[in-house]
Symmetry: C3
Amino acid sequence: MPAEKSPDTEDISVREMSEYRPLLHRPVRKKIIEFERDGRLKHVILATQFTRHLLDELCDLADMVRELASDPEGRRKLSKLLCHLQAMMYFTQPSTRTFLSFSAVCRLLGIGTEQVRDSTVSSESSEGVKRESRFDSIRMFSSYFDLIIMRSKAPDLAECCAYLMNELENQDFNTRNIPIINAGSGADQHPTQALLDLYTIRRTFRFVDEKRTSRPRLEMLGDSYPHLTADVSNKTYAFCGDLGRGRTVRSLVELLMKYDHVSMVFISPSHPKFQLGEDLISRLRDRGIPFEEIDSLDACLDGIPILHQVDCLYMTRIQQEHNNQEDDEFFASTDMTNYRLTPERVDQMRSYAPILHPFPRDSVAGEIPTAIDSNPRAMYFHQARNGLWARAALLVHIFNADRALTQAYREHYADSHDFNRAVL
Amino acid sequence: MPAEKSPDTEDISVREMSEYRPLLHRPVRKKIIEFERDGRLKHVILATQFTRHLLDELCDLADMVRELASDPEGRRKLSKLLCHLQAMMYFTQPSTRTFLSFSAVCRLLGIGTEQVRDSTVSSESSEGVKRESRFDSIRMFSSYFDLIIMRSKAPDLAECCAYLMNELENQDFNTRNIPIINAGSGADQHPTQALLDLYTIRRTFRFVDEKRTSRPRLEMLGDSYPHLTADVSNKTYAFCGDLGRGRTVRSLVELLMKYDHVSMVFISPSHPKFQLGEDLISRLRDRGIPFEEIDSLDACLDGIPILHQVDCLYMTRIQQEHNNQEDDEFFASTDMTNYRLTPERVDQMRSYAPILHPFPRDSVAGEIPTAIDSNPRAMYFHQARNGLWARAALLVHIFNADRALTQAYREHYADSHDFNRAVL
Amino acid sequence: MPAEKSPDTEDISVREMSEYRPLLHRPVRKKIIEFERDGRLKHVILATQFTRHLLDELCDLADMVRELASDPEGRRKLSKLLCHLQAMMYFTQPSTRTFLSFSAVCRLLGIGTEQVRDSTVSSESSEGVKRESRFDSIRMFSSYFDLIIMRSKAPDLAECCAYLMNELENQDFNTRNIPIINAGSGADQHPTQALLDLYTIRRTFRFVDEKRTSRPRLEMLGDSYPHLTADVSNKTYAFCGDLGRGRTVRSLVELLMKYDHVSMVFISPSHPKFQLGEDLISRLRDRGIPFEEIDSLDACLDGIPILHQVDCLYMTRIQQEHNNQEDDEFFASTDMTNYRLTPERVDQMRSYAPILHPFPRDSVAGEIPTAIDSNPRAMYFHQARNGLWARAALLVHIFNADRALTQAYREHYADSHDFNRAVL
């Protein structure tokens, strides 16, 4: 019985969150140490929390999860790792994909889940009048659960919840500080999407030899691309579409900035709303990372088509649901085909260059037509599945089960006499 | 926040499904081999996929599940059979009963479940504009889950999804073909309901001696019904009510046609919409299966009331929600009491003849008044519970766990020194 | 797709429940023996079912659950206790808190759960017309599940369902009588909330020494409060707020009446609607339990402020959603600040006296402002968490797993060489 969200409820949230304003406005460096405990992540709020070192560690854990998940006995081992835990999935912003991914990850690791998906269902506004504060809801969740995975339209809400947890722990009575995981908040941050994107990129650029061939794949590719190396570094990453309003691009750019010798190309309509935010642009400049902003997939750089040059192409959906009338007019006067892939455009790309997309894609606008799905460069479905392994690795890390995972992995491959499959 | 289903979304589905039109219009015989792998069912789409031999096998598995489920230790064994799997329950057509049954079955076998119950919740139309194609949703599910159990108003959608899975597998890169189980699609097919109906009939007609009596039950019944045999064959099956618009009757008739010496009686208003479809009628004719169409539970055949003659009576609800104005007028001018059971009518039936109903029943129209519930012929609540064992058997078969089930069953009864209870 | 509840559906429920009217109107003493089997609770419908002896037993079980839940290995042991069971959570009245609590409890004990949270979703009225009777829904649940936890606006519905189950068992064919647990019905009963409130009170009044101190806590408190004893008895309990319309106060008063030398103070607006019901008042009189009704937290008794005198203060929310126009006018003319705590009022309370609240609290009315949350008397968040242990204890009792729990507990503390933590 969805009720209209009462203005009161929103006011309360805003009022409550305002207590944390001073904390929110600190430099990121000061914040992220508060999201850690004993040298590991406690709350996952911002993509910048992932250091190069931690990314490597998480990707290694993700590889182990992936291998174990490939057979029934390995899955049984995984399902015992965190079976003593229960997670609340608090998704007040609709999201099927991220929700299902986290839910599958929890079950994979044996974590029990419960969900609150619409804030109007809870006492916050049920019957329009119960008027429970959002922070009381969060404290209730922390009474019953061991972990909150949350997604919200309210920017900074996940961050404020992390502060609330820390604050309670600092009071001298017996309260529970449980991890908060940001599964998308506002237009700003989606750290676990960035993690899975990065994991997909790392896996792709390892050039693993999945088929038996006479020569290793990287060596063969070297014939055409002599400077190609097997790592995330030393690559050119292109991003295409609605770069200003999607939080996934922002979060992934943050992570790629941690790698050496990367350069970036941003392909979007020439309008501040659709271009990468000024703040990120300045940070790229400050860090000396080479980048270009262009307005078509067919544009050239130094006289060479950009699609010949990129090592990885990250496509995004135009978030038309956020258009106002002015945006609609801008689109009507813009050639949007410049931001849609076609089989011809894909053919111009380097043979190994992966095409990524955070999904869902828009089947009407067609930024990636289905005709491209069977192209070997299309990695977007693998990307979704990689989300399972990357998010599982993150939970394993947070709950200090990395040693148990490594142990399970070793036992499994010792048992099965099949160490060779375990290509890490 | 249920949104209006945008016309775009429906158009997309129709457009997508149209690709499969040529496959949909092939003869059933050609289709069903595509729903198999390695001699067992892969996708369960049509009731006709169940051969006589497979029905016997599934019923035997169902008996084992049923026995094991009768005590805690047996349940623990069952819950380990498929605990490495996760199922997506994609129910875009509301259905509490079938949903709960499959959900309970999954937990019984240790399968984790997640659900998408309203297509408007998913990205397909969330916020009215994300416009993900339905086949992208299905591929997403196949990234995260090992099985899709789906129910939809769209006829043929489950079948198209099975083709999509097969197609992906045939492309030469690494994709996942996961089983699709049709839990009701359109007005056409409901194969697992037919399976549980058939299982209930088979169990009933075994005339198992549940109480200690001086003589076996079948022998005693033989005094009054000398030609009675302990099998599904050699019986007269009556169906009463809304035979044209209910998919359960259609699917069960398909299965019963596979048995020897069955005859059928169809009791419904004399109006093409409520009578069994022409296609099925022709198939009954072609197969030489004797049947009659009559318009009242009180009608006689060869001068004898039909209720004296039937071995099994399958009642159905009048699906008034599908009435148009013309139907309403037809009903107003028809004596609908002809399609309602009364205690007096039940008393006319053979003492052993089961009354079935796929449920829900209509408590206002009253096709089966509650006064009949305590009659020993009333099998409709047992029928619902049998759904657990029959559907569990089906999943065990699909995932190749029949040997593991048999093994668990043997161990269990060896352990408990209670082989006698195991009346198969 | 929430539909308007059709008048038909409600009529059916009323009609069905009317069959049980004679049973509903019997004296409580006659009813409660029907909710038992073999000396233990079968159905949990009324708070009065908990005897003093049973309360002690359940609190001891709850302590064991609580201890085991404090570490991963203990949790694993708990999760095996009832892992052969499946529960239906049938919550047709919205409730996040009670729902999440029971759901977490089930997972804690390994019980699988499924939910029906809106009666309009089920066949009872899906598509507005299926018109399944509510008792058919309940029987369906009993086919698929081993336990029904239900919450409903309809008074007595849970009780009627218990009678339905018993009735089916008494018919001579093979049906399932599964336990019904009342998780809140009508304005009348909320027995498991009362149980967790009582458990919280018992724990608090044990004055356990959680920190190492030179003298035991009770001994130190004795300096200021020489008559203080470590039990639920011999205490004064105050209840403040909307005492007439909240079922939690009613249920807890029932339980406290079973203890010796308790007295009670009821603080509410002087209006029959907000004061404790006449029926309970007469029972307190009949039992000779001293009580006072006053109209402000600042009122005095025998010249001494009431807040100086109470051992425990139970706050409640004003249920404004149930106000009619007359009530609104009454409120407008009443000083509602008399029923709100302030830090100054809390400072007047005895140092050990717990503040309880069944939650949610009203963040706009502010009967307990957040400034009080860090006061050591604030027990309301602990109270929520205690609900897990108390409800788990109840399920353990119902399903006859107390011996298994005790065994698991002993093994666990023998294993961990940490008997000292186990402060029961």
